[in-house]
């Protein structure tokens, strides 16, 4: 008993000392190094709920549609998003960016909620169309990032991981109750998309 207590005490001290020896760098000014790059790029889709739900919906819909959509949609999205990002980098004005992003959540959420099964090319075109708006929103901020490449890699990685989250959640469709739960989640995404759309059109504050 005494031996065990001594061992626990030693472990805690080891942990404390380890943490103390790993002091990080403190910067007086934020946005230095890759803080204005990789991290801010990664957090951009995460902190924008409209981006987040739309990207999860892509994964959910892919999982509902099964092969080959389960891999085609998440691969289509970043590729077309990069093209939208190029428009943003070039400073090409795209009308209704916020509306497009909000409608993407509404449309993709509706597809999941209704378990819509259009031909594969229609699903790919729909996902690709909305990806342009998401990409433009990210790409417009890219030139001002401290490290533009790291910023781009950050938001592309986060986008891919959000798709993966949707696909993993979508594995619930193997069970009848899971299928209903996923459709319910799609409904929630569509409802949030409707709210964002109303806000983008100026119907609500």
């Amino acid at each position: 008993m005494k031996y065990l207590a001594l061992k626990q005490h030693t472990t805690k001290w080891t942990l404390t000392l380890t943490l103390l020896t790993m002091a990080g760098t403190a910067s007086a000014h934020t946005e230095t190094g890759v803080a204005g790059g990789l991290i801010s790029g990664f957090l951009h889709p995460l902190f924008g709920l409209d981006h987040l739900i739309a990207m999860v919906a892509v994964g959910l819909w892919g999982a509902q549609l099964e092969r080959p959509a389960i891999w085609l949609l998440p691969i289509t999205f970043p590729a077309v998003m990069a093209v939208g990002g190029l428009l943003g980098v070039a400073g090409v004005a795209l009308p209704g960016i916020e509306i497009g992003i909000a409608l993407s959540a509404l449309a993709l959420g509706t597809m999941v909620a209704t378990n819509a099964r259009p031909p594969l090319w229609i699903a790919a075109v729909l996902v690709g169309f909305f990806a342009v708006f998401h990409g433009h929103a990210h790409g417009a901020e890219l030139p001002t990032a401290a490290n533009p490449l790291a910023y781009g890699v950050g938001f592309i990685t986060c986008t891919g991981l959000l798709h993966l989250s949707g696909i993993l959640l979508g594995t619930l469709t193997r069970w009848p109750a899971g299928r209903q739960a996923i459709r319910g989640l799609g409904g929630l995404i569509a409802a949030l998309g409707a709210y964002f759309s109303a806000a983008a059109f100026g119907l609500i504050a």
Partner: protein
């Protein structure tokens, strides 16, 4: 192991800053060469793309690449250290960034000789991009050796992982192709960021 797991997790959650150029740490030219391509995303991502592509090729092609790519990188690094940097090489490098990502996304199986040619050309270009005029004498050799070792390590680990995962897991090849699409997307954006302002001015 279970007792050590919390400690390992805590350590993994505490990343530290890292720099591509070792001006402050002075680890020596070998480590400077070894870390330079690994810490710079514009070098690392195309390397990863080639390694993923190698993992999707027949094993003979991937094995041959483990030897040829580091040698090509070494040749390119020597050239890059001896001659001033060429902007044309940088632009070709950007093209490789995008096109290698595209090849992985499409999961194309190239003819062995074609894949070898792609790896050799890309290796020389990438090595050239890692060249520096700041190393002399023994430091020059150490720097080239460092870049070459990094090329071998990145290529071996990543292509082996890609080969195993795509061959042993049902979702493996999809995961590798998805990673390729991410690299391709990053390549499109980065190329646009560098090229579009020049075209507009």
């Amino acid at each position: 192991m279970q007792r050590k797991l919390p400690l390992i997790l805590v350590l993994a959650l505490i990343p530290q800053c890292s720099w591509a150029h070792l001006v402050s740490t002075r680890f020596g030219e070998f480590y400077a060469g070894m870390l330079h391509p690994v810490l710079a995303l514009n070098h690392l991502l195309p390397w990863l793309a080639l390694a993923l592509l190698a993992g999707l090729q027949p094993v003979e092609s991937a094995r041959r690449n483990l030897l040829l790519f580091p040698l090509a990188v070494a040749t390119g690094t020597v050239l890059g250290c001896l001659f001033p940097e060429s902007s044309l090489i940088s632009q070709v490098n950007l093209l490789a960034f995008f096109s290698l990502g595209l090849l992985v996304t499409l999961a194309l199986r190239l003819h062995q000789s074609l894949f070898t040619a792609v790896a050799l050309v890309f290796g020389v270009i990438e090595g050239y991009g890692n060249g520096t005029l700041d190393v002399f004498g023994t430091g020059f050799l150490l720097y080239v050796a460092g870049v070459t070792v990094a090329a071998y390590i990145v290529m071996t680990i990543t292509s082996a992982a890609a080969n195993w995962i795509s061959g042993h897991q049902q979702w493996g090849s999809i995961a590798v192709r998805a990673l390729g699409s991410w690299i391709m997307a990053a390549g499109i954006l980065y190329s646009g960021f560098l090229i579009l302002p020049a075209l507009q001015s």
